[in-house]
Symmetry: none
Subunit: 210 residues, 4 copies
DNA sequence: TATGAATGAGACTTCATTCAT
DNA sequence: GATGAATGAAGTCTCATTCAT
C-alpha cells in the first residue's frame, strides 16, 4: 500500500510557486461550487474564471481544457478520501468487524458531508470516461479496495486473495451507493438509512467469518 | 399495486395513430443509442433526427424539447421494468427468501442486459432533476419498493410498515448499484459479482427473519 | 367620389356563402386581436387558426399567406373608416370650418377608440410595403383626401385643386398623428391633446379662408 | 438643458479602444442599412455580421441581442438629433416665431435627409416597447420638448408651463409626421409639403402669441 | 372540400479556446 | 508570463406552408 501523491498529469503546468498553487486551488474550489450549482455542461470556463477572479487566459495556463478541471477536482477528492481511509484503517486494524464497519461508515459519511461536490464531479467524470475508455476505478479507490481486501484476508485467510477483492468490491459499492442515497434524505431518514447500511454490510461480512 | 398507465405528460402530442407511435418509438430507440454512445449533452437533437431519418420538425412535434426525450425514455424503462417486477413478484409470493432474491436479481440483471441505455439515461435524468426539484424516486420505482415492503411485512409482521420500507429501500439501492457495476465487468467477474450481490442481500434479509 | 366596395384581390377565394364569409371575418377578428397583443411577426398563422377554431388548412384556403391577412384587415379598416367619413362629411357640408374640424376629429377619435388594432395593423402594413413598393396611400385614404380637398376648394375656389389637395394632405397627416399620440395618453391628457389638435387644424385652415 | 451623455446601457461591453468603437459604429451602419432595406425582422444577425465583415461572435460581444442593436441605433439618432436641436435653438433664441419655425423645420428635414434609417429604426423601436412597457418618449425627445416649451413660456409667460408643454408636444408630433411624409414624395411635392408644415405650425403658434 | 401532420431552412445565440498585445 | 477580445462552428428550436388522406 504505497502512499501516492496527487496525480497531476492532467495539469498543463505544475505550479512551482506557492502563489500559483493557491490560485489553482482557488479555481478548483470555484469550479466545484459551480459544478454543484449548475452541472458540468452548464458551467462555462468563463464563469469559473470570472468567479475565481482570474483571467480566462490564466485558467488555460493551468488546465489544458475544461475536462482537466473535473479530473483535477476528482483527484483532489480521491486523495483526501484515501488519506482518511488509510489513517482510520490503521487505527481499526484489530477491532472486531461490527466496530470496523460502524466506524468506517461513519467516517465516509462524514467525508461526504463535507464534500458536497463529490457526487456532481464524480458523475460527470463517469460521463467523460464513458465517452472515451470505460468505467475503470481510479487509483485511490483501487488502493482502498486492496486495503480492505488484505484486511479481510488477514482475518480469514481461507477466503483467498481474489475472493477477498470481490467481497471488498461488493462492500464498497453497496455502502457507497447507500451513503449517497442517505444524503438525499432528511436527517432522521438519513440516520435510519445509515444504520441499515451498517446492518447490511455487517451481516454480509459475517457470512465470511471475518 | 395498480397497473399504471404510461406517463406521457412529457410529450407534446400523444400520437394517436399507429404510424406516429412507431415513429415516436423509433426516435426513442435512436436517442437511447446516441445517449449511450455520446452522452446526453453531446447528443444533438439534429443527430437524433438524422439517425432516426425524421426531420427535426417532426421530432419537435412529439417532444417539446431535448429534455422531454430523456424523460420519455426513462418512462419507457420504468414502465417495462415495473411490469417485469410485478409479474415475477406474483410468481414468487410464496417461495423462501433465498429463492426470491435469486430469481429477482437474475431478472433485473436480465432486464439491464437488454436495456443498455438505462443507466446513461437515468444518470442524465438525475442531473436534470437536480437542476429543478430534488432526488425523488419515480412513480414506478416507488411502486416496486412498496411491493417489496409489503412482501416483507407479510412474512414478518413484527417489523412494521415503515421499517419494511426502509429495508426495501436498502435492498433496492444496494442491489441496483452492484448490478450496474457487474455490467462493467467481463462475464466471469460479472457472474461472481452477481453471486455476491445475492449473498449480500440474502444475509441482510435473514437478519430480519423474512 | 365613387363608393367603392371592399377590395378582395388579396384573398384566395371569394367566399360565396354566408357561412364562409363569417369564418373569414372571424379569422380577421382573431388575427387583429393577436396582432395587437403580440405584433405581426410574433403572431403565428397557427395561433390565428387555433384561436379562431379553424384548421390551418382552412385558413390557407381563404388567405394565400400571412401577409394577405394583414392586408385584408387593413382593407376592412379603411372601408369602415371611409364609410364613416363619407357620411359625416355629407352632414357637415355647410357648417363653418370650426365645427367641421371639431366634429370630424371627434369622429376619427371615436373610430380609433373602437379599433385598437388599427395602428398595429397599419404599421405592419407599412413595413410590408417598404419591403416591396413604397409608401403609397391606400385607395380609401385617397378618396377621403379628395373629399376634403373638394370641400376646401368649394369653400375657397381661389385656392385651386392642387393646392387644396396639399392642404388636405397636411391636415390629414397632422391630425392623424396627433390622434394616435392622444391614444397613448391617459384620459385627461388625451382630451387636452385632442383640443390642441383642433386648434392646430382650425388655425391652419383659417389662413386659407375656408 | 444639460448636454447628456450617450446612453449605452444597451450594450454588453463599452468599447474602450478606438478600434472597437469603430467596429461598433460600423456594425450599426450596416444594421441601419439592412433595417432600411429589409425591415427589422427580416434582417438576420448573421446578415449584419457578414455585411459588416465581423464574425457573429464579435457582434454579440458588443450587443447582447438583436434588439440591442436597434436600441443602440436609435440612441445614436436621438443623440445626434438632440445635439443639432440644442445648437440651433441657442442660435434662434431671439428671432421671431416665423423664422424660428422656418429654420427649425429646415434643420430637421436636413437631418432626416441624412438619416434614412431613422424611421425604420424608430418604428421597430415602438414595436419593441409595445411588447414591454408603453409608448414613452425617449430622453432626448423629452429634452427637446422641454426646450421648446421653455422657449414658448419665455415668449408668453401667461401660458404657463404645462400648457406650453402641451403646445410643444403638438408642434413636435405634427411637424415630425409631416416631415416623414414629405420624405416619401418627390422633390417638388416635398418642398410644397414642407412649406405647408411651416404654415401649419406658424399659424398654430401665432394663436398663442408666442 | 377539409384537415392537420409533416417539413426543413434558417433564426438567434453560446462558448471553448486561441493568440496578439 | 498575463490578458481578455476575438472567433465561428454548432446547438436548439420555430413556423409558414404544403399535400396526402
Amino acid at each position: 500500500m504505497t502512499d501516492d501523491r496527487l496525480k497531476t498529469s492532467t495539469m498543463r503546468r505544475q505550479p512551482k510557486q506557492a502563489r500559483s498553487q493557491e490560485r489553482v486551488n482557488h479555481i478548483l474550489d470555484v469550479a466545484e461550487q459551480l459544478f454543484i450549482e449548475l452541472g458540468y455542461e452548464q458551467t462555462t470556463t468563463r464563469a469559473i474564471a470570472t468567479r475565481a477572479e482570474v483571467p480566462v487566459g490564466s485558467l488555460y495556463q493551468f488546465f489544458p481544457d475544461k475536462e482537466a478541471i473535473v479530473r483535477a477536482l476528482a483527484d483532489r477528492y480521491f486523495e483526501q478520501e484515501y488519506r482518511m481511509f488509510v489513517q482510520l484503517h490503521a487505527e481499526l486494524i484489530d477491532v472486531k468487524i461490527d466496530t470496523y464497519v460502524d466506524r468506517m461508515i461513519d467516517a465516509f459519511q462524514h467525508f461526504a458531508d463535507e464534500h458536497l461536490g463529490y457526487r456532481a464531479v464524480l458523475s460527470q467524470l463517469i460521463d467523460l470516461m464513458t465517452a472515451t475508455d470505460a468505467s475503470q476505478m481510479n487509483e485511490y479507490d483501487q488502493l482502498m479496495l486492496l486495503g480492505l481486501a488484505e484486511f479481510l484476508e488477514r482475518r480469514n485467510p481461507e477466503l483467498g486473495a481474489s475472493r477477498c477483492e470481490l467481497i471488498a468490491t461488493t462492500v464498497f459499492k453497496a455502502a457507497n451507493e447507500l451513503l449517497w442515497l442517505a444524503f438525499t434524505r432528511d436527517i432522521p431518514h438519513r440516520q435510519a438509512l445509515i444504520a441499515e447500511t451498517k446492518t447490511l454490510i455487517t451481516a454480509y461480512l459475517k457470512t465470511y467469518n471475518v
